[in-house]
């Protein structure tokens, strides 16, 4: 791997870490809000479990964010990694 490729790799690593940190922040806010809503529900009228709507509605967004933070890769990243693998194999 040449010097420039190493720099690009470091940049990608930094971006990946930032993405994961944003996800952790999002998940923490989500968790705290859900606990807060659950307590409001618990202290008020418990006959109708309305807290499940934000739990699942916002939960879908948190799940999508998790996929973006841990699974999704930019097409350019995939291309560069594939080329590096091929170069190493040669």
């Amino acid at each position: 791997m040449d010097e420039f490729a190493e720099m690009a790799l470091r940049e990608r690593e930094a971006r990946r870490i930032a993405r994961r940190q944003w996800f952790v922040l999002h998940a923490a806010v989500y968790g705290m809000m859900q606990i807060f809503l659950f307590i409001i529900w618990w202290l008020s009228d418990v006959s109708y479990p309305w807290f499940i709507f934000p739990l699942f509605g916002w939960g879908i967004l948190v799940a999508a964010h998790a996929v973006y933070a841990f699974v999704v890769q930019d097409p350019e990243e995939i291309m560069v990694q594939r080329a590096a693998r091929e170069r190493d194999e040669q």
Binding site: D2, E3, F4, A5, M7, A8, E11, R12, D74, P75, E76, E77, M79, V80, A83
Partner: protein, 270 residues
């Protein structure tokens, strides 16, 4: 104290405020032009005249977006690329370029920005005017009383000095946080502009890289990145991975060849 005064000493705060205030005017103008063009063009598309109107609207949208990009980059300091008005490649024929103009992600992203500029511009204008009015308005009432001018807020007539001092604490509070609020809202606007106007397609970067290698002979990737940055500008739309991907793609297509020289790869036209 420095935390309070630093935004007021920073010229960028006033540039940001100017950009936000003009957002209302620009938003109305952009929205009216694009909506008129698109509705007229699509409405008359069944007749011959609708298609040229639509094409003209896309060209006008490009021009407006180019101006907006220029404004956001120079006044708001948004990290946006410098782009040619027509970025579709030459040499593929007039019709192919026209199709590129209508179908490209760039065009639709720019049109979305121009349409959303109106609601965003209303918010921008409201935030700046409210913050400045609250930050400085309260200090004006005592001076008006000294000058013998009565004023009123809602139905309340302010005609004595103690009454005129009522809003001073409010203004002090808003003066303390006002500069920071303008800067924070400027950041929101900067991100909004970057989201819609700050993207550069993979093909475009590839073309820039290929063009550079063809013109300048053997170069290393650092030099390529520097030169493409010089042409397009520096921002999140351009990084080492994107340049590396363009080089890999061009190498695979057989347009360039790479050879190791020391710790660096050197690229030349094949």
């Amino acid at each position: 104290m420095n935390w309070v005064l630093a935004p007021y000493r920073d010229p960028q705060t006033y540039r940001t405020a100017a950009y936000l205030v003009t957002g209302l005017v620009m938003g109305v103008f952009d929205f009216v032009v694009i909506i008129t063009g698109l509705s007229l063009g699509f409405g008359l598309a069944v007749t011959v005249i609708g298609i040229p109107i639509l094409i003209a609207t896309f060209l006008v949208a490009r021009s407006l977006a180019t101006f907006e990009r220029h404004l956001a980059r120079n006044v708001l300091a948004a990290p946006l690329p410098r782009r040619r008005l027509i970025s579709e490649p030459e040499g593929r024929g007039y019709l192919a370029r026209l199709r590129g103009l209508v179908t490209s992600r760039r065009s639709w992203s720019e049109i979305a920005f121009l349409l959303l500029r109106l609601p965003m511009g209303i918010l921008d204008f409201t935030v700046v005017v409210t913050v400045f009015a609250l930050a400085f308005g309260g200090f004006v009432y005592p001076w008006l009383i000294v000058a013998g001018i009565d004023s009123s807020v809602g139905g309340w007539v302010i005609d004595t000095l103690p009454e005129s001092l009522f809003y001073v604490p409010v203004s002090v509070l808003f003066f303390i946080v006002g500069g920071r609020l303008i800067q924070a809202w400027g950041e929101v606007s900067r991100r909004f502009a970057t989201l819609f106007l700050g993207t550069v397609g993979r093909d475009e970067i590839k073309r820039e890289v290929a063009d550079l290698i063809a013109r300048s002979g053997p170069v290393d990737a650092y030099q390529i990145l520097r030169d493409v940055e010089f042409r397009l500008g520096d921002g999140p739309f351009l990084d080492a991975t994107r340049v590396q991907a363009a080089l890999v793609s061009l190498e695979e297509m057989g347009y360039i060849s790479a050879s190791a020289e020391g710790s660096l790869m050197v690229y030349r036209a094949a």
